[in-house]
């Protein structure tokens, strides 16, 4: 096992910055979110998780799909990134959420070129969670604070160093590039790694038993239990805009003089206009139906379409819902009622 001493982390990041555009958690206007760094000092290392979802690096809130000058009639493609990207310090749940998005953006075997241009260009250095939050329930959705799935390199914080493990081929290449900075772990450090790994799992005290939920939900579309949740919901969309697995979008053409562009931007199932059709018909006219949709999509339809739950248990929706409508409470209630 190799590790990087904490006092050499700066050199580590500087080395990476020679080869890559490095994105890491930084403090931006009171909130921690992923941004491209220009010095290692910007990086915030004390964070349970970022406020905004890191999937926004791959599927940004708004992007230009193409631009056209009507006079010249020449479509202009937006510039593609040239330097490979490293995302440093992404948490296991969020790395997993990218695997979930991969499936959506590869539906029916067709790659979404915008998403995959960024995704294939990026290497994920995942930081295990030694201090999970009370709202983290990753272990309930098939993952955990030390889940290596989706990582290229995996880091675990020890008292004086970070243990570093290459997970994928891409990760091994980075591992070689920084090899000079790495040291072998001592007996004590190995022990501490094992201990911290075990402790992290135990520290997750928020658990929801989801066994059999998706099968059960299949028959529950018209269940009276759906009358219980939506009353407090104000349909604000915070839960979906911060959720790393949410991926719904809208497309719009905007025109200014001879300049036309097509943009794609996030949309949200909690808004009434999300499903409004041009005929005037709205198949989901009430908040009850919209709340049901959010839960069903993550815990039933997605399982049916892609074989896994579209929630990674990061807790962002719980922490930020202005009316404290807690997804864990909804799930517990769905598990307990008679289907």
């Amino acid at each position: 096992m190799k590790l990087i001493k904490k006092n050499r982390l700066k050199d580590f990041l500087n080395t990476l910055m020679n080869y890559y555009d490095v994105f890491a958690p930084v403090l931006k206007h009171k909130k921690i979110r992923f941004q491209k760094i220009s010095t290692p000092e910007e990086v915030i290392l004390e964070y349970s998780n970022t406020h905004n979802k890191p999937t926004e690096l791959f599927f940004p809130q708004c992007e230009v799909l193409f631009e056209v000058d009507l006079k010249e009639n020449i479509p202009e493609q937006p510039p593609k990134p040239d330097k490979p990207v490293i995302v440093f310090g992404i948490r296991p749940c969020d790395a997993r959420s990218l695997q979930i998005l991969d499936k959506v953006f590869h539906w029916d075997g067709v790659d979404d070129p915008y998403y995959f241009a960024r995704r294939n260009n990026a290497i994920l250095i995942v930081m295990g969670c030694t201090e999970p939050r009370s709202t983290c329930f990753c272990t309930s959705v098939g993952s955990g604070p030390m889940d290596h799935n989706g990582a290229d390199l995996f880091l675990t914080e020890l008292p004086e160093a970070y243990a570093i493990e290459p997970v994928s081929e891409k990760g091994k290449a980075v591992f070689e590039q920084v090899n000079d900075l790495l040291e072998d772990a001592t007996e004590g450090e190995l022990k501490s790694l094992a201990e911290l790994t075990r402790r992290a799992e135990q520290m997750i005290d928020s658990e929801v038993n989801l066994n059999g939920l998706s099968d059960k939900l299949r028959g529950m579309f018209d269940h009276p239990v759906w009358d219980e949740f939506h009353l407090s919901c104000i349909g604000c969309g915070t839960c979906t805009y911060l959720c790393p697995t949410c991926h719904c979008f809208d497309i719009l053409d905007e025109k200014k003089g001879n300049y036309v562009r097509r943009i794609r931007f996030w949309d949200c199932c909690m808004y009434p206009y999300f499903t409004l059709q041009s005929s005037g018909h709205n198949p989901r006219p009430t908040q009850k139906q919209r709340v049901r949709q959010r839960v069903m999509h993550k815990f039933q339809y997605f399982v049916e379409n892609f074989g896994e739950i579209a929630c990674v248990g990061c807790g962002r929706c719980i922490l930020n819902c202005p009316v404290n409508l807690d997804i864990r409470s909804i799930l517990k209630r769905l598990m307990e009622v008679k289907g």
Binding site: K28, H29, K30, K31, S48, H51, N52, Q61, C62, E131, R133, S134, T135, L231, S232, I234, G235, C236, G237, T238, Y241, L242, D250, L252, E254, I263, F265, C268, Y271, Y273, I318, L319, N320, P322, V323, N324, L325, D326, R328, S329
Partner: protein
């Protein structure tokens, strides 16, 4: 008896006597600094009602929505709602009554003597942004605790700014049932001299733009500020209107600024400074600054204050020949 028990008792009576069909109040949340709005139709369920300094949401929003939905159902008996009401919720209901969005006789106001709500952002800041696992209020002290720390802070210092300037929160402009129990803590009252607004006015347009921009370039356009606001009730918001389309779809500055400017301007003479928008904003943006500017203008130019009496006309529905017209400017 505590305020909470008092609220439950009143609610139980209102429901069992058939005076109201529904009680809207606050219930236990799942986070230490959160409550969640609850909707109670059965007298046996009043134990769900709680009261503490985290009852931040403005319930007037739900009252209007429930009544609107009930009124859509033809031949149904008109719905009557009992509302656990702070002063700012009452002020919002006053404005809604004046704007014909609410009938006074459809609501039973359970007037609660409020001693100010805690500011979530301030709590987190005082805890050094460590995770809060316990927030305990006793008298003028608030205990903040998490993994490996427990600190005491002065309650005055973690109240929301709009609560600090809220005058006489025990006396509500409308009230039917009065909660007589009192908190053993009295919130400080700071006379609002609008000095922050006046300071802001002194800046040059370029500087004001820079302040605005620094804040709102972080907006994720989630609309939580709009949706948490009791006064934002348009059935079609300009932000989503597609015929014509007023607003682009992006989160580029042009679009978030336009959204925010129009949202704020639509509050002129209407905002009751309840702070619900600011509390709901997931990005902790300073949105209150701008509605305050409008409140200041309404007061300063027209001597108008929101939420005072349901019998007056709304500011925008009045005209007097003496109205000052200084704010009307010619394009340069």
């Amino acid at each position: 008896m505590s305020i909470e028990q008092n609220i439950r008792e009143i609610s139980r009576k209102l429901l069992s006597d058939g005076v109201v069909d529904l009680i809207i109040g606050y219930g236990q949340g799942t986070l230490p600094y959160a409550t969640t709005p609850v909707f109670i139709r059965n007298a046996d369920d009043v134990e769900q009602l709680i009261w503490n300094p985290c009852c931040t949401n403005n319930l007037a929003l739900y009252v209007r929505r429930e009544l609107e939905q009930a009124n859509k159902k033809k031949d149904a008996r008109p719905l009557k709602i009992g509302v656990v009401t702070k002063k700012c919720d009452a002020k919002a209901m006053v404005e809604l009554i004046r704007e014909n969005q609410l009938k006074r006789e459809s609501i039973v106001v359970i007037a609660v003597p409020c001693s100010g709500m805690l500011d979530k952002a301030k709590l987190h800041k005082r805890a050094g942004d460590r995770e809060l696992l316990r927030v305990e209020v006793s008298g003028s002290e608030v205990i903040l605790a998490g993994r490996g720390f427990e600190i005491k802070v002065n309650r005055d210092e973690v109240l929301r700014d709009n609560c600090l300037v809220c005058k006489d929160p025990e006396s509500l402009p409308i009230a039917d049932e009065i909660v007589v129990e009192k908190d053993d803590y009295k919130k400080p009252y700071v006379e609002d001299d609008f000095s922050d607004v006046k300071e802001h006015e002194k800046l040059s347009p370029q500087e004001r733009w820079a302040v605005f921009r620094a804040e709102f370039e972080n907006c994720i356009r989630c609309y939580a500020c709009r949706n948490a606001c009791p006064m934002c009730y348009c059935s079609e918001c300009f932000a989503e209107c597609s015929q014509p389309r007023w607003l682009g779809g992006s989160v580029e500055l042009k679009d978030v600024l336009f959204f925010q400017i129009v949202r704020v301007l639509h509050q002129a003479g209407r905002c009751v400074d309840c702070g619900a928008c600011a509390a709901a904003c997931p990005m902790d943006l300073d949105i209150r600054k701008y509605t305050r500017k409008l409140n200041y203008d309404a007061l300063n130019i027209f001597r108008f204050e929101t939420g005072v009496s349901p019998d007056d006309k709304p500011l925008l529905a009045t005209f007097s020949i003496d109205d000052t017209q200084e704010f009307i400017t010619e394009p340069e």
